[in-house]
Amino acid sequence: MLGQSTPSARPIVLVVEDEPIQRFDAVDCVEDAGFEAVEAASAEEAIRILEARPDIRVVFTDIDMPRGIDGMKLAAAIRDRWPPIEIIIVSGRRRPRPEDMPARGVFFAKPYKRNEIAAMIHRMTPARI
């Protein structure tokens, strides 16, 4: 149910990827690593989800989404509006310049390695006491 967060022991990761096959696989990667995945096919959808539920710990986004806002702008918006959320950015283009990255943001080049993404999400979500 949108707008109502379900209590979950597993940290929740929002996957933002416009390409359906890659999104499906990214969700699978996140779930395989032991997290709960929520998916968005665009930055706009991601913003709506973030506005509706406060329990998202990590956003894992592609940069290149031809329609609408790209992943870098989404990351900047998240850093501005939801500072505690950790951000993982992936792209098949060149690595963004450090000054363009959000604070604490981490970049992986596509094709990324699933185990590296999983390890990064684990590092970003230490158990809360």
Binding site: I21, F24, D25, D28, G92, A109, P111
Partner: protein
Amino acid sequence: MLPDWCAAGYASIAGPHSFRDYGSFVDDLKRGEVVAVEDVTYDPRTHDNAEAWLTIGARSLLNAPIIERGRLVGIALLHYAEPHVFMDEDLAFVRVVADRVQIAVARVRAEADEHLLNEEISHRLKNSFAMVLSIAGQTLRTIPERAPVQAFEQRIHALSSAHDVLLRRAWTAAPARDVVEAVLANAGHADHIVVSGPEIDLGPRATLSLALLLHELTTNAAKYGALSVPEGRVMVDWRLDGMDGDREVTFDWTEQGGPPVIPPATSGRKGFGAWLIKTGLVGTGDVDLRYLPSGFQATMRAPLVQLQGS
């Protein structure tokens, strides 16, 4: 041509200028016509704006349009501080300048276009690698035996890291050292491998071939050899032998500090990894594998021309 050169007594006119400050002949230029003004204070096209011309040291001027695909994209301007009757040679001179500028600008634009195109192709290629890995990952999801699935994924990553190095010079060539380092970093073993060799540029085919070969050697070393223990080391080095057209490149892979070396069983059908190694650089097959007590060694040779070909 010299940038911003000025004849004695003339100041540079570099900087932005607006057409409407200088008179009413832009339409002539747009039609491709050369505009000659012998004296800006008398010519009806410029006399209302004569002050502006005189300020930049132009009492007389010759304007030649630079047209690209029917559009006015630039103007070559020849000017004198005094009234001047332009002759055919002035006209020819300013035309030559206009043509040269046009060629130079077109070349810069073509390079910029090529750069953009390369970035786009690279982006699509990497996205395709990502798609292949996603499709494979999902298709093979329920396969209980994970080792072959991982081997496949790692080989695609090795190929992708070699493409990254090729991209840096628009797929024309890749420095051998960069290829070696990219593959080792991709395999996560860069810290335990010492790389040395002269600067050699590899062609795209050899780059991909070397990347896959090194990836197999690294994988084997991590499973059975020097990279399977923390104190193990691998030396990767290469050298150039011979002269001129007969130059040959020799790559050496030397493992040290690993567990006791056991040559693999030779019976039965060889695996793909073993085949990749046996095939050698660009498929030359010139590979020598030695299972020494000190550690595994491989020597691979190929003619430089073959390594540098596309």
